[in-house]
Every structure is written in C-alpha cells, then in structure tokens.
Symmetry: D2
Subunit: 278 residues, 4 copies
Amino acid sequence: MPATGVLLLSCPDQRGVVAAVADFIASHNGNIVHAEQHTDEIEKVFFQRVEFEVDGFDLNRDEILGAFAPVAKRFDMRADLRYTDVKPRVAIMASKQSHCLFDLLTRWRSGELPADIVAVHADLVQHMGVPYVHLPVTADTKTAQERQVLETLAQYRVDLVVLARYMQILSPTLVDAYPSRIINIHHSFLPAFIGANPYRQAHDRGVKIIGATAHYVTEELDEGPILDQEVTRVTHRDSVADLTRKGRDLETIVLARAVRAHLEHRVLVYGRKTVVFG
Amino acid sequence: MPATGVLLLSCPDQRGVVAAVADFIASHNGNIVHAEQHTDEIEKVFFQRVEFEVDGFDLNRDEILGAFAPVAKRFDMRADLRYTDVKPRVAIMASKQSHCLFDLLTRWRSGELPADIVAVHADLVQHMGVPYVHLPVTADTKTAQERQVLETLAQYRVDLVVLARYMQILSPTLVDAYPSRIINIHHSFLPAFIGANPYRQAHDRGVKIIGATAHYVTEELDEGPILDQEVTRVTHRDSVADLTRKGRDLETIVLARAVRAHLEHRVLVYGRKTVVFG
Amino acid sequence: MPATGVLLLSCPDQRGVVAAVADFIASHNGNIVHAEQHTDEIEKVFFQRVEFEVDGFDLNRDEILGAFAPVAKRFDMRADLRYTDVKPRVAIMASKQSHCLFDLLTRWRSGELPADIVAVHADLVQHMGVPYVHLPVTADTKTAQERQVLETLAQYRVDLVVLARYMQILSPTLVDAYPSRIINIHHSFLPAFIGANPYRQAHDRGVKIIGATAHYVTEELDEGPILDQEVTRVTHRDSVADLTRKGRDLETIVLARAVRAHLEHRVLVYGRKTVVFG
Amino acid sequence: MPATGVLLLSCPDQRGVVAAVADFIASHNGNIVHAEQHTDEIEKVFFQRVEFEVDGFDLNRDEILGAFAPVAKRFDMRADLRYTDVKPRVAIMASKQSHCLFDLLTRWRSGELPADIVAVHADLVQHMGVPYVHLPVTADTKTAQERQVLETLAQYRVDLVVLARYMQILSPTLVDAYPSRIINIHHSFLPAFIGANPYRQAHDRGVKIIGATAHYVTEELDEGPILDQEVTRVTHRDSVADLTRKGRDLETIVLARAVRAHLEHRVLVYGRKTVVFG
C-alpha cells in the first residue's frame, strides 16, 4: 500500500466544510482515497477523516498543516495530520494476566498492527524479543514506580500506552501526560460492573451476557471514552471461573480491535465519547 | 404433543437426589421425557426440572405431589408440579409504547406462546380480541388504580403478569402478590442504566453496544432476577432515536423469549438469580 | 428533518472525483450534510453517496442532474438523484406466512419506514388499511397471474417490490421489469441452503447457527446481490419447528433492515454485490 | 475438582432408560453430579451424558462397564465410559498458518484444555516445548507422508487429532483410523463455501457475515458432523485480506471451543450430526 496522509478534523458544524477540505486537497494535486464524516446533531460538532495520497501531493509533509491553517482557522477547526507509513510507538503494560499482552504481540508479529511496539512491562517475561522493562510496584513504591514509568515512556518516545490487564490505577500525573493515548481493557460491559472483580459482580447479579470494554483512560476510573465493546452469552451454569475464561477471549479481541482502530487513525475523541470511523 | 408433567425441584445439594426422583417416576410407571439439573457450587443448591409423560402414570394428577412428599421431605426439597396442557393465564400491561404488547399478541395468535392471554391493559386499544381493561393512572390516582389492577388480576385468575413497557413502578403490595410472577422488560443491558431514559443514558455514555433485559419484578427497581438479555451493536452515528428504534427490536425479542421460558416452566428463581433450563 | 437530496454515484476509480462532486455542490450554494464513499480495489470502481440540503440550493430539483451532467461525463459516472421527502411507493407481496408482512406494516405505521406502502398482496387479509390485492396463483394460472401482478404494480406506480415470504419464483419478465427493485427474504444464511425448505436442510446438516438473507431478486434463484444477513445460534435440541420459529424473528428483522436501507437510498448495486452505506 | 466418571449413552428411545441408569449409579453408592439428555424425535434416538463421582463408588474403574452391561443390553445401548482425570492425548497438525496452533498451545499452557498435547506437526517450529514432528508433504510424497503420520500418531498413542489449519486433505485410511476423533477447522460457515479459498468465495458472493466451522473429519470433504460454528459481520469495505484477518479470530475461538467440548466428553456423534451437551 502506498503511503497516505490522514487528516483528522473537528469543528463546529457549518456549511461548506466538506467542499473546503476537498478543495484544499485537490488544489495541491492530491487525491482523496477515503473520506468519512460525522455530525453530532446534539453538540453541533462536525468530524471528518480524510485520507489522501502522499505521492503527487505538491507540498512537503512538513508544509501541509501550515498550508491548511487558513482553512482550519476559517472553520475554527482542530486538525491533526498523520501518515500511515510513520508507525506509532507503542508500550504495553501488563501484569500477571498475560493473555492480552501475548495476543497483541502475536498480532504485531503477524503484521496485523501498524505499530512499533517499543517496550513491554509485565510480571512475566513473555516479551518475544521486545525491549522489556519490569518496574515492580507495591503500595509503598507506587509513586516512585510511576515516575519510573513516565521516564521509561519518555525515553522510548511512546505515542500510545496499552494497559493490557495492568491491574493498577494510574495517577492523574500519568493520565494527564497521555491524553487519549492510554487504552485500557476493562473486563465488563461498562458502565455495568465498574471497579474490581467485575466477573464476580456479574456472577452475583446473574446476568445472561458478559462483556469487555476498551476505553481511553481518564482520571475517573472506568469512565473514559469507550472505543469498543464485545459481549458473549452465559448461563446459570457458568461459574466465576467460566466467566473469567470466556471473558479472556472477549478482552483479547476487543482490545486488539480498539488498538488497531487507534493505530489506523480512525478515532476522534470529544468529551467522554468517541467517533470510530469504519 | 401429549401432555406432560413438569416437576421443578430445588434442595440443598446432596447425594442420591437424581436417583430418588427417577425412582419415584419409574415406580409409578412414569416415563421421563426430559430432565435437566444444575448445582450452584457456591450456594450448594441443587435444581432439577423433570418432565414426564402423564399418560400411563399410575396416579391421578392431584395425587402426585402427595405421593412425592416423602421424597421432598427426605431431601428438604421445594417441589412444584405443573402440566403442559394447563395453560397459564396471562395479563399483559402496556402503556403508550405498544410494540411489545403487539408482538406478544401476534406470537400468541400464531400459537407460539403456550398461554391463555386473559386480559390486556394499555393506553391504545390494540387488544386483538382479548378482554381489554383500561385503568388510567395519574400521580394522584396511583393507589386507587393499583387496587383496581389487583382486583382485575384476581378476577381473571391471572398466573403471570407481563409488563410490556408499562412505564409505571409497581407498589410493594402488587409486587408481593405475584412473587416471581411479574415479568418486566427494561430497555437497557442491566445493571447498566438503571432507571429512566436508559437509551439517553447509553447515548450520553457513548457505549458501542445497547441491550434489553427481561427480569422478574421485585421491590427494588430493576434489581429483580434476570431471565434473559439481548444486545446489538451501535455506533457514534446512532442518535437517541436510532437507539430507541434498534432497542425496540431487542425488547420485543427478549421479552418474548423470557415469557416463553416462564410459560414452558423452564425457570427456577433463587435469591436474585434464575436458572433457565434450555 | 429538512428535505435533502441524495446523489448515488459510481464510476471507474480515478483522481479528483471527490473534489469535483464537492465543488459542484458548493458552487450551487449547497451544503453536504453527509457523504460516504467506497472504492472496490479489485474492480477499480468508486462509489459515493452524497446527501445535501435542498434548501438554499440555487437550482430547481429538475435542473440538478442536467447541471451535474458534465461532471458525470468527465468521470464516466452513473448518477442517480433522489429526495428524502419523496417517498418511494412500495408493494408487499406475501403468502400464507404473514409475519414479515405484518412486521413491515407495523413498522411503517409507526413511522419507521420512509415509504408509501401502496399495495399488499397476501393470502390472508392482514392489510391494515392498505389497498389490498389478492391475485391467487396455481401452477396453471402462473403466467396469467404474473401479468396481473405486472399490471397492478404499474397501476400503482410501484418503485419497490418486497417479497415478504412470497413463496413463488418470479418469471424473468417480472424480474427484468424491476432491476434492483425487488427485495426477497430467503430463510437461510445464503449461499447455504439455496432452494426449498432451508430450515429442514439446516436441521439435516446439523448446523449450530441458522440465518436469514435479504437480497435483490435476479433471474438466478437465491443468487441476487445480498443486502443484509442475520444469524442466531441453535443446538441439537432445536427441531425443524424450533428453527422455523427462531428463523421467523431473523427474517422479520433482516428484511426490515434491508428495506429500510433501500428506502433511505443507502444501497448501490454492482454485479452481484451491494455497497450498503451506514 | 475431584475425579468423575462420564457415561456417554445412546440407544433407541424407550421408556425407563433414565431411571435404569440412575438406579445403576445409586445401587453402587454413586452420586450423579451432572446429567443431561436429549431425544432426537425424528430418528427416535435417546442420548445421555451422566457424570458421577468416582470417589465412593463401590466398583473399581475397570469393573464398571462390565457391571453396566446388562443395562446396556436391555436398552440396546451404546455406552462409553471416560474419566475426567485421564487426560486425552492430543496431536495438533498445522501448516504455515499457525494462529490456531499457537492459540491451542497457549490455552493448554494456561490450563484451559484438559488434555496432554503429545505431538505437534507444523511447518513453523512454534511448539512451545511439545514434542515436535515435521513431516513435510508434497504431491509426490503424500502417501508415504501419511504412513509416517499414522505411525507417529500410533507411537504417541494419540486419542484426538486436531487439524489446526492443516491445509491437506486426509486419505480415507487416516480418516478411518480415527473415527470422530479428528477435528478440523474450516474457514467458512459450512455448508457455504466448501473447498478451497472460502474467504475469496465469500468476498465474491458479497455476503454480509462470515463464519468458521469446527467439524469431525469424514471421508467427504467438509461434510463431517459439525461441532461448533461462529460468525462475524463484514461489510463491502472488507477486502479478502480483511475477511482473512477477521476470520482468524473466528477460527481460533471456534476450534478451541470444539476441542474443549470433545475433551470434556460432551459430544456424541450420530450420522452426520452431533449432540454437544452444555
């Protein structure tokens, strides 16, 4: 696949935005290979993802956003520009539960995830050749350990942090340093069963369907914008252990889908919601 | 299909229950056409549903539970006996939203629901020939109206009350009069979005899946034992109206499934949970 | 919702199409409220659905396609233009099985389907006030009956024919008269179980999932472009009657979704495939 | 979990089977911890799975089937007896595609599969410590290679062969040696898209849902009894590569579920169908 640029745009909803953006691309000899848009009719916000060929574009990559600035200004637009041949740098943080970590590494090895996985933090050494950092944490060392984590993320110039069943609540400092750039997998169908032991909570409540939720991390626990969810049917016969086992498959699949959507620059965040283009 | 008896049993888990029940049936020249069991390993409770042919059984219907009493006593067992040719008498209570009511009546007319629907309460007269009772309710008349409802249910000797989007919270008096015999459809994936306007709540939270839940009504709002749940995928493009429309299909299907399970004597309730045999 | 125009476009994939279309709209003071596109990378065909506000557009409705002709010519484009306030005229043909007919009429009454249902053909008179035509058919009268059907469709100026479990194979004459304008519901997950008695076929094969498929009718039986499919899980315990009952829910839902997609001008057909925009 | 015995029974449907089996267990001081049954009403065949505690049973393991023989004879019953603490010996055969192999090994390592995986055949050495046999095959060497395969399976005393995307059609000799003991994963929703390149076939047909099917291998290609199936939704936007990627997740999950059902002695085969107890 030839490299493409991806413009992620959001602005107050108004006339002429689509034409103005298409004109900008066309006027620089660009070619739009894919475009999607969405308007939030309640918030009156317009969102667009425009993917265009880099090849033949008559501006250099570092000139494009500057040239686009007048359009962005005219529509009071927030504009991000990414390139599909520049792979985001990803760190994965896991804990004793390694199924999500393992699954992501396997997909990455098979070419399914357009990323560079640059660091892995886990209790178990299942890093498959990726630089491996173990920063053990206890109640006493949490503050110091978070500082180490921040330093490590900075050192590796990480673009995206994936909490693959990390089982630690991050401090506001860490969360604020990576806004909409930390993805967590919660093992319930949020907002049901917030907090600890969601499978036990689900068992106690006697639900007939369980779920898993991938979301961006914000300061409020399990309240961040949802990227993706998946569910499966259970019955009275399923014990907590059965729910946990069935849930592992949900967790791995939904986390992988969410990470992939982020890495393909298909996600826009606003408030506590996401637009995930198809 | 020839008539069958259905024994619904529950007791503390212990050795020999299955054989004792099978022996009882066999010793009276009965034939088990279907049996299912479940043990809750945490609560240590045993549940069984035993369906046997009435034809050829060497006791009259009204003698069977008496003859079974020693077995029930020995195992400290709760035993219910129903017959598949004795149709439960059902009342459906709806409100302005009539899709669930309409769907249940259509399924009933087509022979899908083994019941006699004996009364319908709704704001709209879509009763399809079923005795129709309109008992309007306002904040001021709620107590009096509930008394009328209770009288009507008694008058029609109702076995099961189905709240097909009734939109009123029942008083403890009414709930207590029909324990595990009032089924409600809640238009969310419980326990997410308890209370009013769940589709708006779901839209505000930005979930990627919505659901509907059929449950027995207890005194705690939306906390009763869950019979069945169903979900469907939504995206950022779905407005509250879209969620409502998509949700209607979930509500009709999950309520019909739950009512059918109840009418086929496949449900056992314990605590706030259900065993729904297949 | 204010009226909008919907341009449905397809052409050989090439540079500049998106900008040319956006320019055309903008140059006539139009405003694009939604646009979606797709490129079939194998067939090298570009598809687009552009929805724009009618209000404020500086051409009359009957002038727009003419003014767009140079753009269409330049890109060798097929262009259709529809308006969301012009409701397609729909005829529904059913047979003894009436659940899909009934469901469509109910949704239509509730405002869910943007159409005028102008005629219903069914063995059972469940027409809910819609003009009702019963044209009985036997092996001997099939040719004559089809001529009557064609005349009736012409008389009612029908835009879309929905076969809601019609159970008759249409002749090529009828099919050719309504290309991509006859939607059929087949009660299997096509291409599995083509032809008669698909639920029996599914039962004999012992599948663990059954489905239903809505497709446009072409001259080849059950081979037309698929609009939508839905499935549900079954087990060894489900008889053919159970599959039929469970399947009815699939059929009604998937047919309603497909009809709705067509009526909202979200479908483009090419070869034996469809693009169904979201 | 204490060890249990599992009786898998099938016989012509007739009165008294359930009681006779329960009596047999009870008369030897056994305790039934779980029992499920099914009657095929068309074929008039009765199936039962009875799980009972080994501890306390008053016969040795190798005496039980002999003691049960009169019951089996009386009802013309086929009876198998297995023990949950005797792990089946499994060989996995894969090819260049290793996602299913890898997934099964991971689940096995995590304790999810009650089996001894004794041999792995694959083009890639991803055997995670399991004895590894690479028996390369070409068109010319197929017969000789199959002989080697048979010898290897015999040498390792294999109970179950799992074809985890093996991509070779087995000869009748091999198939006949392991009746209902070879599980294959086919990457389509059978019986749709039998044979080669099912994802390409699915793409060409324009289906809106794809699937995967786990089945026992018989001499007829892709016609063996189905153990489990799973599906996922696709759109016009999914290329063959996308279908392949999405399908991989289906394949791994459905194969793992099917293998687990077999290993837990929950499957009975009759004709080309399966009973899979829950």
